[in-house]
Amino acid sequence: MSLLFSPELEQLEKLFPFFFVLDRKLQIVKKGHSLKKISGNETYFKEQFSFVRPLLGIKYEFSSIQKFQEQVFVLKMLGIENKIELKGQFIYEEPSDLLYFWGSPYIRSEKDFENTGLQIKDFAVFDWNLSFLQLNNFLRIEREDKEKLKYQFERQKNFYELLFDHIPMDVAILDSELKYVFINRSAIKNAELRNWVRGKTYMDYARYRNLDLEIAQQREDNFRKIIENGEEFFYEDTYFKGTAQEKTIYRNMMPYISHNGEKYILAYGIDITMVRKASEEIFNKNRELNKLNLELDGLVYSVTHDIRSPLHAVLGLIGVIEKEEQLNPQTEEYVSLIRSSISRLDQTINMIFDYSKNARTKVQSLEIELEELVRTVFAHNLKELKRKINFNITKKINSKFYSDPQRIRIILNSLLSNAIIFSNEKEALVEVSIDIDNEHCEIEVADNGEGIQPKHQDLIFEMFYRGSKKSIGSGLGLFIFKEAVEKLKGSLTFTSNPNQGSNFIVKLPNDLCSHEKEIHSN
């Protein structure tokens, strides 16, 4: 019994809805429902189909098709708008002398499926075409994603290359085989040469540019060390040496390991010609300044020393004159005025000497008995100024105090002499407070004198500034005092009210710590 008339054909049609059956005249005697949907009622094979494969050895004859029946057939459908091809095979049924074609559309892209009028339900469930369409869609998405990523990657690559090209310094990247992976426009301006050098070594470049190959080899050896040992390396290139265009490039090469462990060398070069010139200028000026300072220090020292000696000789002679008994009162007054003027001059010279010492000498660190020093300096100033003063000293000493004795003396001398001079004329009072701990020493000096007018308060530390009629000095005292505090890395504050007095606080670091370290190390 022929399959054509058997009930099994219905089941087979479900599996092959594009099947058709040919009789010996190549007349289509039966079509599957899906084939019917796209081909209509055409009944002759030759008018409905043309061979695509096999093509060369086959004829539009029943027996010829029968010969090739074991092979894969591709048939192109004729007379319809869309190019649809069927892929399948023929099977000959002997009893009925019929050829059955079992196959389905040969779809190679989504486009092949478009406008065919076919739907998924027209295919057998197992049909590969459906999986193919899904796979094709998936591949299209993947391809689009890849293209997007590629575009993104190219964009980023271009962005960074452009960025590196606009950086005003030479940038290059070399791989572990010491070949240039990237080099920017600043490093090589000629685009052709820049492209050429990618994938080449420094030696290749040196040969191309006729550079000294011995130096090039040394540098390449150093590049290798960067890759092998991770050592950083730098050198300087000088171009147009000895000409007005001479320039120096500082080149630094450092190792870089990427996230997947690949080793690279990152290299950059900066034009340091201007920096080098400026540095040389600064160096020369500094040397000149140092020379001038030394000369000035020498001058100040010799001037102060040379002037003080004859001044002391004059003071000695005044002492001799004062001892003469026959001096008349007028002469006695003149001599006293001479002594007073010479003393002030001596004081000024002393100040200049102090300033010179403060600027010139290194800071020392010695133990200081501060209370004793305060009392000594106070007594000396009191004797000089011949005043009667109520003097109080309070102390809170929790540590030894280490600092520079010479500068502490300058600071105390300035604070106490001012306190004595400017304290109240009727009932003068000077109060000193000392507070020492491991870290700091705070010295506070207060008087009950005329105080400092607000308009003078910002100016009192200026050199040669004198803010009061009572000032008998040179105007250098507070200036030197401030310089000494700064030299000791201390700080100072003051408050002052006219006709009530002034209060100066100096806070200095206690150098105890370095002494303890020294003791421990010893």
Partner: protein, 172 residues
Amino acid sequence: MGHVSDSFGNEAWERLRIKAGVVDEFFLSNKIYEDQITFDLVAAASEILSVDVDTLLRSFGKYWVLKIAKEKYGKLMEYAGNNFIEFMDQLPNFHSRVMLLYPEIIPPEFLKERIDDKSFLLHYYSKRIGLGSFMTGLIEGLAQMYNAECEIEQVANEITEISHIVYKVTLK
């Protein structure tokens, strides 16, 4: 390329590549090349190596099966059959399936007609003229791959717009 460089050295390949005016230094397995490149290379090889074209094509056909096909399509070929005859039954569809994957290429067509258990006729249809000897080499190579000894006789050679050659293959 592989056949020439393996049998005659890389230098010989370079010489014939330049003589044939072929720009490509190496060929990709899945890329489709112009037929003319093949014919130019064969002509140049014949001249440089002093071997006639038919002998060269035949040895190349054998080399292709035993070296290239084994290397590139080894597993596929294993699945094609347990012996030479079974493989030859699948030969037509092997080529048809290649066409299904690469619709733009035109592989040759085959028709195998059984004579008896030990012999068959193999019809070879191709749009390329002049590759009959190459086909002979392929059959020889396939037989050797399956350790089969056979006699190959070209019983018909009809050239029209296409080449239709009939081989009678008899297993010994």
